[in-house]
């Protein structure tokens, strides 16, 4: 399969692993964060960490769109879903995120009309097919997904569809990275940058990482060789005393991003003063709301929502996992009370969540080590 199999070549992988081994300084510990949940998934799925020297540690970042949604926002969504005459639509993983009193899936079982969609366009299609009901789309995701929501809202406006509404939970990637870099909890040597977010925003917004914090970042693709090559590029920067933004994923990521997508985002969305992230608290200018020009489509203006901040369950350590402070298996409830079938925390829900990825792939390797 073109664009895929070239990046899963075992011989090339072994060669890259050898180059990585040659690039590390013995006795030095390297801590690299993969920002995006897609990378976390690839690392566990393909056993990439097994190919790395013992002194190169990969830690998982906050780039899983589902994992970072705070419980209070789930409660707000469920409150809207229970309104009469509402069809509530969301992506598949979002259905299973626990709120303080159940998930959207539970709300559906209790009689709310909650439907899973693959894209916001599907939600708009449902709105056009049900003109006498309000169809609310629960929008989540980083800059990868936000353009799709924005284009759908533009389409709804152009076509005069007034029963399509959006509860906007879109977030941006740079503010949480800055928050992580400012955190005293964490000492990182470099970053594997998010490939698909960068398709939209480009590699340029990450310049602050070398400029302000003196750390290298390499924007990377999601196949095993992409991740290995990104690790090698970071280690090479460190060995040569450089810190720069490099683009390993140049086959799809332009350095300046997709300018048309950025224009559409600027038209349809506006920055919230602050937005709450699961386990990370409120981060300034990290979330998007609908711009004033699209206020008629804003579900939060049409419906009353509790808007209450809800603390994460005490047993849940998603916050520490999302910040890379602990590994998934170090959480007290990992694999026991919290599993993909019965998740307590968000990181166990999405397949891109560090806990679910580790539960599904990584724990077997760890069990072998223990034996």
């Amino acid at each position: 399969m073109r664009f895929v199999e070239e990046f899963r070549d075992a011989a090339l992988g072994r060669a890259l692993a050898g180059e990585i081994l040659a690039a590390v300084e013995p006795g030095r510990h390297y801590k690299l964060m993969e920002v995006c949940g897609g990378h976390t998934h690839s690392i566990y799925k393909y056993g990439i960490d097994d190919l790395l020297p013992a002194n190169v540690e990969l830690v998982h970042g906050p780039g899983c769109p589902v994992c970072v949604i705070p419980m209070g926002r789930v409660d707000d969504g469920i409150a809207i879903a229970h309104q009469p005459n509402v069809i509530f639509t969301c992506f598949g993983d979002m259905m299973r995120i626990p709120g303080s009193d159940g998930s959207l899936q539970d709300a559906k079982a209790a009689g709310a009309d909650v439907r899973m969609v693959y894209s916001p366009l599907d939600a708009l299609r449902i709105a056009k097919a049900n003109p006498d009901r309000d169809v609310v789309f629960f929008a989540i995701g980083f800059e990868t997904t936000a353009p799709s929501t924005a284009l759908t809202l533009k389409r709804a406006k152009a076509e005069g569809v007034t029963n399509f509404l959006c509860m906007c939970n879109h977030v941006t990637i740079v503010p949480p990275l800055r928050a992580l870099l400012d955190s005293p909890d964490l000492r990182l040597d470099g970053f594997i940058g998010p490939g698909h977010v960068s398709t939209v925003v480009g590699a340029r917004p990450f310049q602050f990482i070398p400029a302000d914090y003196g750390k290298p970042i390499v924007v990377a693709g999601f196949e095993p060789l992409d991740v290995l090559q990104a690790v090698h590029m970071i280690l090479r920067q460190l060995a040569e005393g450089r810190c720069e933004v490099e683009n390993q994923y140049s086959r799809v990521v332009p350095y300046d991003g997709n300018l048309r997508a950025l224009e559409v985002l600027a038209e349809v969305f506006a920055l919230r003063p602050h937005f709450e992230w699961r386990g990370m608290g409120f981060i300034s200018q990290s979330g998007l709301r609908l711009s004033d020009a699209y206020a008629d489509f804003d579900a939060e203006l049409r419906y009353d929502v509790p808007g209450v901040r809800v603390a994460d369950p005490k047993a849940c350590q998603c916050g520490e996992v999302l910040k890379g402070v602990i590994k998934p298996w170090e959480c007290k409830v990992f694999g026991t009370a919290c599993t993909p079938e019965r998740p307590i925390g968000t990181c166990m829900v999405s397949s891109e969540g560090a806990c679910a990825a580790y539960y599904n792939f990584g724990r077997f390797a760890r069990e072998r080590e223990v034996v």
């Binding site: 399969m1 073109r2 664009f3 895929v4 070239e6 990046f7 090339l12 995006c36 949940g37 897609g38 998934h41 899983c64 769109p65 589902v66 992506f91 598949g92 993983d93 259905m95 299973r96 439907r115 899973m116 969609v117 693959y118 894209s119 916001p120 366009l121 599907d122 449902i126 097919a129 989540i140 995701g141 990868t144 997904t145 353009p147 799709s148 284009l151 698909h196 398709t199 939209v200 390499v218 693709g221 060789l225 090559q229 490099e246 683009n247 390993q248 994923y249 140049s250 086959r251 799809v252 990521v253 332009p254 997709n258 048309r260 997508a261 559409v264 999405s350 397949s351 891109e352 679910a356």
Partner: protein
């Protein structure tokens, strides 16, 4: 799955949702509906779906797009092998 969700939807809560997971797939353009700003695109496994192309227009038949949540967010046209064997991509 409700009957009014697009039949080509492949958001599977059991295996994880590729839309939630920030996954973007390369798909080839098979047919273009310029008036509606949509293209019929085909994945390597033969699965087809309607894709919003406003962010990457103009597109040509056979061109490979990177598709996320039903929207083309970029192109995937470069020769893949050069990225791995070359100097590690452009800045």
């Amino acid at each position: 799955m409700p009957s009014d969700v697009a039949p080509d939807a492949h958001c599977d809560p059991r295996g994880g949702c590729i839309t939630c997971g920030d996954v973007a797939l390369p798909m080839a353009v098979r047919h273009i509906d310029a008036e509606r700003g949509l293209a019929l695109c085909e994945h390597e496994d033969g699965r087809r779906e309607s894709v919003e192309i406003a962010l990457v227009e103009p597109v040509a038949i056979g061109e490979r797009l990177l598709v996320h949540a039903g929207t083309a967010i970029g192109r995937a046209n470069a020769d893949a092998s050069t990225a791995i064997h070359g100097e590690g991509g452009a800045r």
